[in-house]
Subunit: 288 residues, 2 copies
């Protein structure tokens, strides 16, 4: 399970209601940030997500509104005596952008084949279509093996036997050998995909395939389709179209233009194509 | 008259209630910023101060919490098509810090003797005691010549004669020549001083002499006097002491440590020395 908190849901210019791009993904006490726009540390305080628990920051592309907040956050971490490593995963150019940060910070430059394993889940990058070297990121839990409880118990499994058979793949109970495969099934892990800024593109479709949640940028409504194409952004209905084709369970629209004080039009246009759509708001929290 | 809006009143780490250092000084439609911490552009939106009207940013010292927001604000100005010059006045090192900003931005490095004339008023720097090259800034309106109205009228001055005598220094009314000095007096301009981060120091005392308003940092209460000295900050009572000795009209305390959720102790300690003290809050607005 992942817990997601939207920290900033505005496009390039913030508004009173929406901060600049940042999403916190919490997993077993650790926090992973997707982008880190100006003001993110304060948004975290506001919405009760610990900046000291941030283990990694994934930066989709090197436009200022997606990373400026990392500088302020690192400074605050240092003032709080942070020693634990913080890794910033960003596009080529990230090392130059962050210069010589504090000692506990490591900056790693990624490409479209990047993937990192955090134990119970992995984070992978996928290339998107916006500025040069723009990426989306997907979080994928590993498949888990779960017991058919009734069947397992009827075959005599109990107590520590469950861990034993899990560890060894089989277990002798009385005179009979039980195979792990016979009493368990594979439970797929959860999957989230986040686009960063992008035109609608096949790479997002592939990365979001059957995801539990797709967080897609939707800077504009259809009325601004031309402007969206020009600025290499998406409309709400384009995001919905990808959500539908990729067969995702839920779509969240973010990175909204400040012109949509009322986001009804974005929601309506998306829902006409993909029903299970929500428009992100700063502070919105959901579990996947 | 100056209109002052506190945009961020926290010390190095922001809180939910307080943003990072920034103060807007409005004068005849123009906005001048004193420091520009992370999140300042959004604080301006929140408190109704136009970032497009910012003519100059005065940076007291090159600690990140006092200037990071300028990067985001410049980006937003550019997205809004800004062409008018924006001048950043900062300590030595500012040019390197800001690198190659947008074309409309000019970065000027200042010293402790710096002064710039904006027509009706001037802004001057004074060296303070914090990090290397830390400055405070004072805003001073020029003296204005005002008429003793009754006397001027009794001598026959009326209508356009007022502008004439003001322009020429004297005016013949009937057979009599009236001298400007006889019908006018010098009305002193308003004066504001802002310290930035500093230990209590003689330079602030001199710059604040008889000011209408002294905005002094007060990171700590007296209980943390040692810590204040070590980190080269001031306590509320040290700020009050300078306000009293400099004979200022009003003292505003800002740059408060996040530990003072309740600022009563700061206010009480300062008021015990200098009665006309206020603790700044984000969004607080006053006219001087």
């Amino acid at each position: 399970m992942f817990e997601i908190t939207f920290l900033g849901t505005s496009c390039a210019v913030p508004t009173v209601q929406r901060g600049l791009s940042a999403i916190a993904v919490r997993k077993e006490g650790d926090v992973f940030l997707l982008d880190c726009g100006e003001g993110t540390q304060r948004q975290m305080m506001r919405f009760g997500v610990s900046y000291m628990r941030v283990k990694a920051i994934f930066i989709t592309h090197l436009h200022l509104d997606h990373f400026l907040g990392a500088f302020g956050m690192i400074e605050t971490m240092a003032l709080n005596g942070r020693m634990e490593k913080l890794t910033i995963y960003g596009p080529p150019g990230s090392k130059a952008t962050f210069g010589r940060p504090k000692e506990f910070v490591e900056v790693l430059e990624i490409d479209g084949r990047f993937s990192v394993d955090f134990g119970g889940f992995s984070v992978s990058a996928f290339p998107v279509k916006h500025s040069r070297d723009s990426f989306g990121f997907s979080f994928e839990e590993k498949e888990k093996r779960r017991f058919y409880e009734e069947k397992a118990k009827s075959l005599g499994l109990k107590g520590p036997m469950f861990s034993e058979i899990m560890a060894n793949g089989k277990l002798k109970v009385g005179k009979k050998t039980i195979k792990l495969a016979d009493v368990t099934y594979a439970s797929p892990g959860k999957k989230i995909a986040y686009t960063g800024d992008t035109l609608p593109c096949a790479e997002t479709f592939r990365a979001a395939k059957n995801a539990d949640l797709l967080i897609h940028e939707a800077t504009f409504a259809d009325e601004k389709k031309g402007e969206a194409a020009e600025a290499k952004h998406s409309t709400a209905s384009q995001a919905a179209d990808i959500a539908k084709k990729a067969g995702v369970k839920k779509l969240l629209l973010t990175h909204l233009s400040g012109r949509y004080k009322d986001t009804k039009i974005l929601l309506e246009e998306a829902k006409a194509i993909f029903e299970n759509t929500l428009v992100a708001e700063d502070g919105m929290r959901l579990e996947v």
